[in-house]
Assembly symmetry: C2
Homo-oligomer: 589 residues x 2
């Protein structure tokens, strides 16, 4: 029975950074070799980063990806890593790509995987199933593959095993390439992924790996990306599952990791090829030198999945860290109102990039309560932020002396003066501005455009208000469990939320209770339920009509909102595409 | 030889306004009947408006579209219009749709056409070819049809003719349903469309109609939507082309119109059906009473296509009018700097909704030149705008007294104070704010986020600076040709452009000459050319590197920019989807 020490390199590439991503793969390959691995696998499109969106339309970029693959193969060989089997995702095209040659002339761009060994590309695989829902637009970008190459790997005198590589969505469909791999009798299915995080009640990824491993009748190795790319946070959670469903190894979530596991694989037998499960199965044979086997591998890691709040927190921190870092910022600035949203965002930012790189600005007005200032100051003290105070009264007064603004216009003015202050500090000192509107607020438009919505990144964009509170409670409890001071002042969690734009204002003046609001929004926004469904779910008719109306009318604000990490089934942004000009109304008002 | 008086109803529906769109169709049907027509055709998805984007995922919306179709059929019959053949586009699903029933359970949503007569749906057709490029995401939304129904229409004692209906993209592919219709020997192909405007050098639409009419061996009638929906402007330009390529009738662009033409059609012969051109061709027979033939129709309209500047201007005006009107606004406000961009935008707005509904605000600073104020005032005078002046010095001074801002931060502050003023007037008085950054500025990020970029709609978002000047010249010349006063002050067109955020500042301090800039941007943005292609086109290396770098780094600003009408091959917005986090650099810096 052939043995394989398999390494899954759960890494965090950067979109467009081809030289950096080549180094990332080389580094992972070295570590895999040092761990005695015979095969190391990297995520979907690791060389280009993922998703690259309309960069696929630039021939120069496609050509650069192909050149990076060739360079990688040569450098692996040059560093004495030629005996290591390396699987990487990259962007290819089914034909020649060179300046002046149309990448699409022979079939268009491909979401591709390559198997590298001995300084060569042993075989290429083009993703069959292209997701075109939710945040994915792969029918826009790629041509589908229709071939499954199976690599027979013979190492020294050992019995050979048969390897099939598939890419992400290919795993989700029964009857796809994993089925064909099973019919061909492969010994190992390797799935390379760029799979974003979504908070889910069930362990969907594990269930899926088990189903496909059973279908293939072979172990299935699943390697996923970690880290953030714009609104997506890749969860990691790489794993190896036996044909019988046993989890043989599992990496942690959100962070980079090299997962190493020793596998006993079914020996290759037979040469089934040709048309299987509706595709063409081809065979390739690869002879590799024996690996100098290191000592027994340590017991493979079997990470536990994080509970809900912990996983959301980790996603927001990872997404924020990568957005800041990959866009070349070192520090952030945000307004601290003493309220729960800015408090949680400041804490996420401190966890992501260090409190010393977070500037918190208190911008009190005449309507700000004493506790707003003291809660903000206490938070800054507990976290160790760079804390400043800029009262807004002089600027607000100056506008009011020169413009006739009353009511809502005057309320919004205060928020906009704060926005100008934050942007001024950003321009002057080079910080990225964080904005702090939660998903409930974004949904109903409870914000001031170009006021509190000002900012380049919104860590809680996809977090309903009730979850913001749960996160605060969890973060404090987690700190206590670690013997640290809870960062979030108790009063910030317990006080009734208020925008403090007029005397005595409370969110509850304008909005339903957040528990009810979030339940309705979960149905209307995340699940596309109609009015009748919402009423059938037991929600109050007047409240449903009010909420639905607010959501419909706020689309124009969301269209200009900052990006933020997706954690839900349906995030605002590319995940949910609604027209601004839209007279469809569920509500009866 | 059967005769048909055909009416093409080039109408402007509103997305989501099902009752309003039903009325629009009824009104068009009445006018067609009054003109003696036997068949009237409306555009793609006229009942729902187009594109409806993620509204397709709401079962309540799909059900409402189906109900609207049934209501329309009954109301046509009820108004004595049952003998008129009516073709409409709508949203359907291939299965039962009712509350609690999954619209997708029997095949998912469909981009559909229905043929109505006698109070009934005679037949339905589901679009075969789903565009999933550019601004289109139809693979995300719809299932493809695979059947072509052909309706044999027999009216009284006349010889019958065979009618095939296809939808938009179906026309673009050779070998599609038009080919099948030709093989089946139809007498008339009717294509219903939601086809947005793009400024093009060639008459692509006519060329296409001619090719398909020849392929079908029958006249082809093409009906398109008019008016704006968010970033799209539908061009109209409905037409009827004979099998031999002769244009029998052609409507104007951008505006609603009922195009009526008398056709002699080939008589129906044979019953070819079954599998043709890879699809199932079905036959339906429809017997209708004789039409009381009115007098001979007047000679059909044969509109000339507008020249470039005139068509762009008409597109911007139509898009702006519909965005304002369909979103419930009556007036707009914008800053008037005396520069070319705000001047052109004010003129577009005045043409779209009337100068009396346009508020122009001059917001001079200490750095504003005398001509800025006088040019703005003269424009307002010539157009008859609601003109106001709000100097920004007091507010700027107030910020500077409370914050340490210098250099670029101080420049941006001025733009942001102006933004706060415009938003204040919007909130206080209910105007929609127009922003005026042209495509060249948006491309290179030559704007202040939350400053001059503030606004809900940008009429020149997709217009390069050089085209802004051409439009100004054209608009003045057009006024002169009509014996009117040219609206745009000559000095605004001839003076060197400046943001006037510091003493003596000129755009040329920061940017290449606009003619060169726009040529590079046309290649890099609109055509996805790489650096090597741009150099091969003869552009200066240093300039290319500088421009490409600016474009790459400004993605975050564009992501929060206001919508505006698409006029080019590739507009910023959903047409061009690039990651913000992106280290791919064409340039060598």
């Amino acid at each position: 029975m052939p043995q394989l020490r398999l390494a899954l390199a759960q890494v965090d590439p950067t979109v467009g950074d081809l030289p950096g991503n080549v180094e990332l793969v080389l580094d992972g390959a070295r570590r895999a070799r040092d761990a005695g691995a015979g095969l190391v696998a990297f995520p979907e499109m690791v060389l280009t980063g993922y998703p690259v969106e309309d960069l696929v339309f630039r021939e120069s970029f496609v050509a650069a990806s192909r050149a990076a693959l060739d360079e990688l193969a040569l450098r692996l060989e040059g560093e004495g890593l030629g005996a290591l089997l390396v699987v990487v995702g990259y962007l290819d095209a089914d034909g020649p790509v060179a300046p002046g040659v149309d990448a699409g002339s022979d079939g268009g761009p491909r979401n591709a995987a390559a198997v590298l060994a001995g300084g060569q590309v042993v075989t290429r695989y083009f993703k069959h199933h292209l997701p075109n829902y939710g945040v994915f637009d792969e029918d826009r970008y790629f041509e589908s593959g229709d071939t499954l190459p199976i690599v027979r790997v013979r190492r020294g005198e050992e019995d050979p095993f048969d390897l099939a590589v598939v890419i992400c969505e290919d795993m989700w469909a029964s009857g796809g390439p994993v089925t064909a791999a099973g019919e061909a009798g492969v010994g190992l299915v390797l799935a390379i992924n760029g799979s974003p995080y979504e908070l889910a009640k069930t362990d969907t990824r594990l269930d899926l790996c088990r189903r496909r491993a059973a279908e293939a009748g072979a172990p299935l190795a699943y390697v996923n990306m970690a880290g953030g790319q714009d609104e997506l946070v890749f969860e990691g959670d790489s794993m190896v599952v036996a044909a019988g469903g046993e989890v043989l190894a599992r990496a942690g979530q959100f962070a980079e990791e090299l997962l190493v596991v020793d596998l006993d694989l079914p020996a290759a037998a037979g040469d089934i090829a040709g048309e299987l499960a509706g595709m063409t199965v081809e065979r390739v044979t690869l002879d590799l030198p024996a690996v100098e086997t290191a000592a027994d591998a340590p017991a493979p890691r079997l990470a536990d999945r994080l509970p809900d709040e912990a996983s959301v927190w980790a996603a927001l921190v990872a997404g924020t860290r990568d957005y800041v870092r990959k866009n070349g910022f070192r520090s952030v600035v945000l307004g601290l109102s003493g309220g729960i949203d800015s408090t949680v965002v400041a804490t996420i930012a401190a966890d992501a990039i260090g409190a010393e790189n977070v500037v918190g600005v208190s911008m009190p007005s005449d309507y700000s309560s004493e506790h707003s200032r003291s809660d903000a100051a206490e938070l800054a003290e507990r976290l160790g932020l760079d804390y400043r105070t800029v009262p807004i009264a002089p600027m607000v007064t100056s506008f009011l002396a020169n413009l006739h603004l009353t009511g809502l216009a005057e309320e919004n003015l205060q928020a906009r003066v704060r926005g100008v202050i934050l942007m001024g500090l950003s321009n002057q000192e080079g910080h990225l501005v964080l904005t702090t509107g939660n998903k409930s607020e974004l949904a109903v438009g409870y914000s001031t455009l170009y006021g509190d919505s000002v900012g380049g990144w919104n860590p809680v964009k996809d977090v309903f208000k009730t979850m913001v509170w749960r996160l605060a409670e969890w973060r404090n409890a987690d700190a206590e469990a670690r013997g640290e001071t809870p960062p979030i002042p108790k009063n910030t969690i317990t006080k009734p939320p208020s925008a403090e734009l007029r005397p005595g204002q409370l969110d509850s003046d304008s909005l339903p209770d957040y528990a009810e609001l979030d339940a309705i929004l979960g149905g209307y926004v995340d699940s596309d339920l109609g009015r009748a469904d919402l009423l059938a779910a037991g929600h109050d008719e007047t409240t449903v009509d009010r909420v639905v109306r607010m959501v419909d009318l706020a689309e124009y604000k969301r269209r200009q909102s900052a990006p933020g990490p997706k954690i839900s089934l349906k995030a605002f942004g590319r995940d949910r595409r609604l027209p601004i000009t839209n007279r469809w109304r569920e509500h009866r008002v």
